[in-house]
Each structure stands twice: as C-alpha cells, then as structure tokens.
Amino acid sequence: MTESPASLDEETEPGEEDMPEDDVERLHGSAVVVNNNQTVVHTGKAEYHDLIQSLNDDGYGVCVDLCGVDYLGNDTRSLPVTVTAERFELVVNLLDVQASRRLRVRVQLSEAAPIVATITDIHPGAEAMEREANDMFGLEFEGHPDPTPILLPDDWQGHPLRKDYSMGRIPVQFKAVDGR
C-alpha cells in the first residue's frame, strides 16, 4: 500500500479518530460524497451488508453492477476523512427504477483479508458479478451460493486484474547468439 502524505483526505491517522467529523454528510451512518453529479457512499466491510439492505429498503432495488478495483500504486485517490484507505475496493452500482436515480457504494477491503459478506441474499443478480470479482481480484464473498470461477478456467492460478499480477511474456530471441 503506497502511503502518500501529499494527497488530501487519503489516510486517517489513528490519533485523529476523535477529531470532529460533523462536516461529513452521512447516509445510514456511512459517508456520502457527490462526484461528477454522482452520489457515492463510502463504507467499510463491517457495515456493507446492512448498508445495502437499508438502501434496498430506500428504493435502490436493482444491483446493476458490482466490480473490484485494485488501488495499488495509486496515490491520487480522494476519500472522505472518516474512511481508511485500503488496497482493494468493491464498487457496487445501485439503481432506483422508481425514482430514476443511481447510487454507488465503495467498500474498502484490506489486502490481508479481502473478505466481505455476499449481497446475493438481497440482490440475487449479484451472483455472477461477485463470482467475477472473485476471479479477477480474489475478493471473497462469505455465504455466496456458488463460489466457483466464472470467466477463468477452474485451475487458474492468481487474479489477473490485480496490479501486481505478472502479465506473462514469452521471451523471443531475435538473432543467433555466438557460441551456443
């Protein structure tokens, strides 16, 4: 995890936890920001499942998209002060088809334990997307009904969309080497 003191709001120091956080807007206890006219809710993995449930009750009843992001080496990410940056993020795009509005949930997941509760019990349609996030980033979803590879072969090693995944190159010899 790259530390960057220069970027604003990147990290919350342990000693700063008792600082006033009243200026952060909240929704169901999680910080809300508006980026490019899009509402984004930042949360941690402990509150994630309850948050999705509460949002579902608010009308965000369709999970249109779920994907992982690897922020390894990215020092330009801006997060609310209340959120501790972790290497992985789980991004869930929700849709309210009654009010025609969207909302995005970003969950911070640590490199050591990228495990989070599944939301397939709330949104059955997230099943394939969670399997894909597991393939590509190694994010694990507790309670997933079918945690098998979906796009990758069953015996595939590694998670290709991680930034530290070796792309794999075949060495090419362009001319004969003398004496061999």
């Binding site: 490019n36 330009t76 349609g125």
Partner: protein
Amino acid sequence: MTKLDHLRNRDAVLRMSEAEADERASVVDPDDERMIINMGPQHPSTHGVLRVTMELQGETVLRSKPVIGYLHTGMEKTAEDLTYLQGPTNVTRMDYAAPLFTELTFSLAVEALLEIEMPDRATWIRMLMCELNRMSSHLLFLATNGMDLGAVGMMIYGWREREEVLRFFEKVTGLRMNHNYIRPGGVAADLPDGWQEDVQNILKVLPERLEQFDVLMTGQPIWRERTQGIGVITTEEALAMGATGPILRSTGYAWDLRRAMPYLAYDQVDFDIVVGTYGDTFDRYAIRLNEIRESMRIVEQCLELIPDGPYRAEDRKVTPPPRARIDESMEALIHHFKIFTEGFKVPPGEVYTAVESPRGELGCYLVSDGGPKPQRMHIRAPSFVNLQTLPHMMHGGLLADAIAVISSIDPIMGEVDR
C-alpha cells in the same frame, strides 16, 4: 418479503461441480430418471461459445446453469495498458453486434472525467449512428432467432437487411464492424457527403421488409406456438436478477435509459418505449422487431434536426488538430504529437456512465489516477447479467424450448466473457 422470495424457481440453477456430476452418473438408481447433459459450447444455437449444463427428466429441463468464459480475453486488463484515445479500439470488440454503444459509453465516461462539453453535431451524429446500430443489431437478432426456431429463411433476410446498414457504416467509419468511430472528444470523422440519401434509402426499404417479417413470423400460427408462453419471466424476477433491456421490457415494465435518464439528445426526439405483456419469448421477439421501427423514427428526426458545426470538441489537448493546422502552427504540431505518443491526461476520479444498448444497460466504470491510461476500466455488460435469467426461464420447460429461450436472451458472447 425479500427479492429471493419473488423468484419462483429458487432451485432453477444447477450448482454442481463436474466431479459431483461424474460421481452421480456412476450411481445406478432405477427410480432416478434425471440426467445431466451439456449443450454447447459448439452448439450452433448457442450464439458462439455458450455452454449450458442442464439436468433433464425426460424432455423436461429441471435445473440448468450457463457456463461461460470460453471467450475471455482479458479485455479489461488490456484497457489498463491503452491510452484513452486507444481505448475505443479495445472496447468496440466486446459487443461485436452493437460496437458503437460500447464506444459511446466508454467515451462518455472519459468525457465526464475530463468535464468537456460536446458540440451539438457530435452528439447528434452519435445518436444517429447508435440508432442505426440498434437497427442492425436487432436485425441480426431476427435472423438468428428465426433460424433457431426453424424459420431458416430469416437467416438470409435478416442478414440482407443488416447489410444495408453495415454498408452505410462502412462508408462513414471505414469498417463494417469494430468501428472505433465514437472517441473521447467527439467522433472520428464528419458524415460523408450525400449521407442523407444513404440514410433515406435505408428508411425507404426497411418498413416494407419489416412487414414481410410480420407475415413470415409474427402472424404465423407455428411461430406463435413455438414462442408464446415459453420462457416466462416476471417483472420482479427480472429486476431481482438485474436484467435490463428487452427482457425487462417484455414483462411490461417500461424501463429504458433513453427515457428514464436521457443522455445524448434523447430528450429532444420523439419515440415510444415498446413493452410486452407476458414476459415470454414472443414478447421479447416482438419488442425487438418494433424497436427497429422506433429507431427508424429517431433516425428520421436526426435527419431533420442534426445541426451544423464541429464534429468533435475544440479542445486541442484532447482531440487532434485539423491536418492543415499542423503545417502552419507549431502548437498544433506539438498537440498532435503529444496526443498520439503520450496520450492526454485525465483528472483523477471515478465515474460510472450507462447507455441503453440493444441488450440493456451498458455501463462503463472508469477509474483514473491522473495519467494517460485508466487505472481501471470495467464494462457492465448487459448480456453477462441477463444470462443469469436463463435457468429461471428454462425451468420446467421442454428441451426443445430451451433453444427458443437462449435465442430470446440474445447474448453476445464477446460481451459476456470480455
């Protein structure tokens, strides 16, 4: 009541590893008539390389599961290695039947992060081309759907009509597929001279041909027998599974991003959202057929309303300068050089944009770290999500109807596997 309770067939999905299936095959139980068979990935009716594992009892499909990934080529990983200008060449290869929509959603995402304004003409050209692409994509559906259900002649007719549109695309973009025409900052080139006549020609021949399709399929008793009441899905089920596009609209739910969350200039044109009633295979067929007619209405209005002006943003950091300017201006030469060697930088941030593709909501989630290449580019492919409804639609139906159901989802495997 949770959404899971809305799913009538909670056990419609066959969750069984191949080892378990092998084990079960070796156990002989005279009372157990169930068997597991694989359809595909080389089956002609699976539209590419879809494999469906099905549990059958006689001719009835009990549980099933689409097995995908045969066409996975890591396009999201590739995107992280391409500049924003090169990006559309990659994403255009995902949904090869409707490539302009993937280019559009990617370009809209980049433009949202750049915060640049699009000239009106660029917006209208994009809309015109996308609606023509919707027509060609649905014509391809009619061709393959017809063939899957035994109307083999449709294979020829559908491709013939699609060819009219592709010929126009070739004239405008230089290619029949994988156009790389819609790019961040506008479109690659202005419409060629005489494009109005070409479009009018398409609009002139198509209505008559669509009526022939109606005679050949819509009104046909055999066609109706094979499609009506087959593969039924309810609105609650479709929403729970995240299904969008014709699948959701076939259940009678009028959800279309062009109307619900207008992008481009869709709030300035007149068109109707076509919805079904029963959510069956016939409704999904009829919706696509009639959406061709609605797209023609939009194209007609584009012909009248398309404004003059530049076809791409006049932001020299993003779009290359006109060729003539390079000879006289050093700045122009530098901009040109920078765009094509290093690429332009996009401010840090993340954005999700969505457009209504012929298959449903096509989204692009883009994360930029401030460099000339994306940190992460994710495409929300409608076919990938819609395919999850397959076991629920096939559950309890006949094996012969499974073909009709797969066909009616209209999955494009390039987009499913990415």
